[in-house]
């Protein structure tokens, strides 16, 4: 660790396109936060500490020992911060689902900037914009110039923007996993660079439900059925992403009868979580008749992009839907059925 005047290392936490849940998650380690404070000087954490970007720009390269970066990259300012913090940090960790795979902001990859602006600034029924004003990257106000960052068409993950040393998965990561990862990083007890610091099995491993054989004749929407509270949700026809999702959360959602939605990212060795779900689900559909199969799929999964790639669209193999600049182009939105 770098020798600050007080012997502490330097820690930075930054948020790009995210929701703040990762900040709360870090604080979920409760009083252990004081241990973190004892080991590190936090040099940058806009949510919590009054540091400015300028002070980071002036730091020496690699003078920040550890940077926990949460959030996806979808504006020029966020890309700038990703590059800056990579430059100034010895170890850069993609913290949470947004940084690892795009998470919910990544769903914007089913659409594009023009469509988003049109909806937000013109089409929503409460918007009143007779002069057609849109936010501009440069605007000359009466008193001087005002700047906003450029808004990308496609959300990127941190790994698609800069070199990432480690990933901590989860939306947000669980407090215990965060603490374990911090300890592992401090002790140097780590998997190879570029790895995910996490378990190597699926949520099914941690789920308490009784699992027998799966034979699906029909996929049911969560509001169509009340689960029995004991058996595997998928066996009851409810689409559960646990099959392909990395363990670590403890299977919390099934404990309240809700299916896993995949927020912990793909399991080890899975590059595209949607593809893995397709494989897993197809093998248990109980039909060999092409027409019946079509019907089961079309009726049961009307939104494959949302269901399979809710957290992972930006980090998936195709990364986004086909891009067109038409306003009506909502390729991901047009999940057509017969």
């Amino acid at each position: 660790m770098s020798e600050a005047t007080n012997g502490k290392g330097k820690l930075a936490l930054y948020w790009a396109a995210s929701c703040g849940g990762c900040e709360i998650a870090v604080l979920g380690i409760d009083e252990k936060v004081l241990d973190v404070a004892a080991a590190f000087d936090i040099v940058f954490w806009p949510c919590v500490v009054d540091g400015k970007v300028r002070s980071i720009e002036k730091m020496e390269d690699k003078s920040i020992d550890l940077c926990l970066f949460n959030g996806a990259i979808r504006t020029s300012e966020q890309e700038y911060m990703a590059h800056l913090l990579r430059q100034k940090s010895k170890t850069l960790v993609a913290f949470g689902s947004c940084a690892q795979e795009g998470c919910i902001p990544g769903l914007a990859n089913a659409t594009n900037r023009d469509a988003i602006f049109k909806t937000a600034y013109f089409d929503t029924p409460s918007t009143d914009n007779p002069n057609g004003v849109v936010p501009l990257t440069e605007y000359e106000a009466e008193e001087g110039m005002l700047y906003l960052p450029y808004f990308y068409n496609t959300v990127k993950t941190l790994g698609q923007t800069v070199d990432v040393d480690y990933y901590i998965p989860g939306c947000p990561p669980e407090a215990d996993d965060i603490w374990d990862a911090l300890v592992a990083i401090l002790e140097g007890n780590l998997p190879p660079r570029g790895s995910v610091i996490g378990k190597h099995s699926t949520v099914c491993d941690q789920c308490d439900m009784i699992k027998t054989e799966k034979k699906i004749k029909e996929f049911k929407r969560t509001w169509e059925v009340i689960p029995d509270g004991e058996t595997c949700l998928l066996e009851q026809g409810i689409l559960c992403m646990g099959l392909a999702t990395r363990a670590g959360c403890g299977g919390m959602c099934p404990k309240v009868n809700s299916p896993c939605i995949g927020c912990h990212g793909p399991n080890e060795g899975v590059e595209d979580i949607g593809a893995r779900m397709i494989t897993a689900l197809s093998s248990v559909i109980d039909s060999d008749d092409p027409e019946e199969i079509e019907r089961i799929i079309q009726e049961g999964i009307p939104d494959p992009v949302g269901s399979f790639y809710k957290f992972n669209l930006a980090g998936s193999m195709l990364r986004r839907s086909a891009f067109t600049s038409d306003e009506g182009a909502q390729a991901g939105a047009e999940a057509e059925t017969a």
């Binding site: 948020w15 396109a17 929701c19 703040g20 849940g21 990762c22 900040e23 709360i24 604080l27 409760d30 973190v36 404070a37 936090i42 040099v43 806009p46 949510c47 919590v48 500490v49 009054d50 540091g51 400015k52 300028r54 002036k58 919910i104 902001p105 769903l107 914007a108 659409t111 049109k118 937000a120 929503t124 409460s126 918007t127 009143d128 004003v133 936010p135 501009l136 605007y139 106000a141 009466e142 008193e143 001087g144 906003l148 960052p149 808004f151 947000p172 929407r221 969560t222 509001w223 919390m252 309240v256 009868n257 809700s258 939605i261 009307p302 939104d303 809710k310 909502q330 991901g332 047009e334």
Partner: protein, 489 residues
């Protein structure tokens, strides 16, 4: 004009920067709080399954996901035309009260609180939760940590996860409350009431007992007379979970009271080219710019607004405190932005009382906590009071329950115009010709937005930083007039 830029603003949730322009006299010509981020939920939720929305909209905010989860779930009730059973509604409101107590605690002790408890001019290293701990001692800090811990623990046990619960469905919730858990909820709730009372006592001693702070609260630089919005129950008492939306004018008289589904008749959103965030205003008054008064459609939706818009609190201890606040500050409505911190603590007390009220309701452990929808979904509006303001989710779907259109008006968005006005007025009141611009002065300007607990709150403050800082003032040619640094390596 000279430009002072605060980038990024800190100790709030979300991204923002403030630009303050000084004219040749050194007076503030204008100030802008720009929001440089947008994610596009209203667009990318089109095509998604309706039942995924409570989980997707959770991620609008990681500090108040419960608010979005509830508003979304209620929108689904409306979308599917299903009325949840009483047990479900009570469970939801109890869960929501627990969340409120947790969230308001973290804001007061970690975010806005340090400015008050430590003082706006306190050294930067002390102006955070650690400073508070030192000042008030580990006994008290332990209580704060316990309150937060208990809150998130119960949110996880009831709603599935401590952050981003997975529990709401059209027609109810996915799991009910066992008898064992109910006991735990009640026990922790009673401890929480004590904690809320203790927090108010702390506020009395440290803030109200200090004339400098009282002068700060009542300083004209922090006063805005605007409309106020909040949700009220059938007795016109504050309710976080359900009711009608009530708007009162700067004179305290009722301007409107409406059901959620009619919100479009009352609220519209204005767009400016210098911020990604829109500016809601009252439609029937109209957008007149960033100005105060009865003729301007600008309104606030904050804890203070909720208390202003209601006739009282629904629980006894909170009602006592409500009366005391208005007596102290000279009657209703109260327009002192910094009094929002007080209002927040009164809401904290109400939330804990309501928590216990519902935990001891005979129906709370009922076995019917979900009904299956039978009608075809088409359109629905769901609202709750998020801690930071009235939250509206409006969904349209096709007959399969796949969304075709989405409209969201999120808590802090309601206050966007007011926040800008507060920052500008505070800057104008505090930066004058001849005044030395010091770090503490600028923090006092920032207090103007922190009172609103903007956007997604950040849970706690941690560390003292030896905050490095550099202030550079240039004239209109770009020549440096003054430069000051502190703690730069």
């Amino acid at each position: 004009m000279k430009r002072i830029s605060i980038d990024p603003i800190t100790r709030l949730e979300g991204h923002g920067k403030i630009d303050i322009f000084l004219d040749d006299q050194g007076e503030v010509a204008n100030a802008y709080l720009q929001v440089p981020e947008l994610r596009g939920f209203e667009q990318f939720c089109v095509g998604r399954l309706a039942e995924d929305m409570p989980n997707i909209t959770n991620r609008i905010c990681g500090v108040c996901p419960e608010a979005h989860h509830m508003a979304s779930t209620k929108a689904l009730d409306a979308l599917f035309h299903i009325d949840p059973p009483p047990t479900a509604k009570k469970l939801r409101e109890m869960f929501y009260s627990i969340f409120y107590a947790t969230d308001h605690t973290t804001h007061f002790y970690a975010l806005g609180g340090p400015d008050f408890v430590m003082g706006p001019d306190a050294p930067v290293a002390e102006r955070n939760i650690l400073g508070i701990i030192k000042k008030v001692g580990m006994d008290i800090a332990g209580k704060v940590l316990k309150m937060r811990h208990d809150g998130h623990y119960l949110i996880k046990k009831i709603g599935g996860r401590p952050v981003h619960p997975n529990w709401g469905l059209p027609g109810g919730v996915s799991k009910g409350l066992s008898k064992e858990l109910r006991e735990e909820v009640e026990a922790r709730g009673r401890e929480a009431i004590e904690f809320a009372q203790f927090s108010i006592q702390l506020f009395n001693d440290i803030v109200l007992g200090n004339t400098d702070y009282v002068n700060l609260i009542t300083n004209d630089a922090y006063i805005h007379r605007t409309y106020n919005m909040g949700t009220v129950d059938e007795n016109n008492h504050v309710n976080f979970y359900d009711g009608m939306i009530r708007v009162v004018g700067p004179d305290g008289k009722e301007h409107a009271k409406y059901e959620y589904k009619d919100y479009l008749d009352y609220v519209a959103e204005h767009v400016e080219p210098w911020s990604y965030l829109k500016f809601p205003y009252l439609k029937k008054i109209g957008w007149k710019g960033f100005v105060d008064g009865e003729e301007s459609g600008v309104y606030k939706a904050t804890p203070l607004s909720r208390l202003n818009a209601a006739d009282g609190m629904a629980t006894p201890l909170a009602q006592e405190e409500y009366e005391r606040m208005y007596e102290t500050l000279g009657g209703k409505p109260v327009d002192h932005t910094l009094a929002t911190h007080w209002a927040r603590l009164i809401e904290l007390l109400y939330a804990t009382e309501r928590w216990v009220e519902l935990a001891t309701d005979p129906e709370i452990t009922g076995e019917t906590y979900r009904l299956l929808p039978t009608e075809t979904p088409d359109e629905g509006v769901g609202c709750v009071e998020a801690p930071r303001g009235t939250l509206t989710h409006h969904y349209w779907s096709d007959e399969r329950g796949v969304l075709t259109k989405v409209n969201l008006i999120v808590g802090t968005t309601n206050n966007n115009a007011a926040i800008n006005m507060s920052v500008k007025k505070a800057a104008q009141g505090l930066i004058k010709k001849g005044v030395e611009i010091k770090e503490g002065l600028l923090n006092t300007i920032e207090m103007a937005y922190r009172a609103y607990d903007p956007c997604m709150a950040c849970a706690t403050h941690t560390l003292p930083g030896q905050m490095p800082l550099e202030v550079t003032i240039r004239d209109s040619e770009g020549e440096i007039l003054e430069q000051r640094t502190q703690n730069l390596d």
